[in-house]
């Protein structure tokens, strides 16, 4: 199980806000630290994969439960 250093609550937010807030939150972490994001926007699944690929910040884990999507992104 991945252990996060910081949590971003993006529930109720719609595209592109979860990504923009994630970018900002990652900026406050140091390399190697992990950000956990909780979102409710179903579009976030593909968006976070694409964000991770393009920004080279690894998407360590993702899960869905009860209409909530959880992502763990490590700052590169």
């Amino acid at each position: 199980m991945v252990q996060e250093d910081k949590v971003l609550d993006a529930r109720g937010l719609n595209c592109p806000l979860p990504i923009l807030r994630t970018k900002k939150a990652l900026g406050e972490l140091t390399a190697g630290q992990v950000l956990k994001i909780v979102a409710t926007d179903p579009g976030a699944v593909k968006d976070f994969e694409a964000f991770s690929k393009q920004t080279k910040n690894p998407l360590l884990e993702q899960a869905e439960a009860g209409g909530e999507f959880v992502f763990f992104i490590q700052k590169a």
Partner: protein, 157 residues
Amino acid sequence: MDEKKLAIIATKGTLDWGYPPFILASTAAALGYATEIFFTFYGLQLLKKDLGHLRVSPLGNPAMPMPVPMPNFVMALVPGMEAMATSMMKSKMKSKGVASLEELRELCVEAEVRMIACQMTVDLFEFDTSDFIDGVELGGAALFFEFAGEADITLFI
């Protein structure tokens, strides 16, 4: 430099069409693109400090979902249709967690998206540039191409 670049031309000044330039520019900036938006014609409305004047109109817009479908000529005659459609769209966006235009624009400013107002149309429509947000540059078509010529993606919105 291997930094990617996105150039956008924003030409529309309605509440709905104000979204695509700011959504794409802010997201591109978050992905590491150097981003520039060239505002021309009605797109200049998106640069005003106060965006409260932006409207969306159901008139001549058959794709807009309406609670009660109405022919164009009826909508044209009924007073307040535009105000109603505008407030409906705003409340819908709020309830769905869609950012306000001001918020998205602010995120663009924070992410250092370069914003250029077209000098010719500023003069043509007699815009007062002191009504614009800070940091807007004035320029012409050649300035746009200086950036767009190097861009990986160019969008006309």
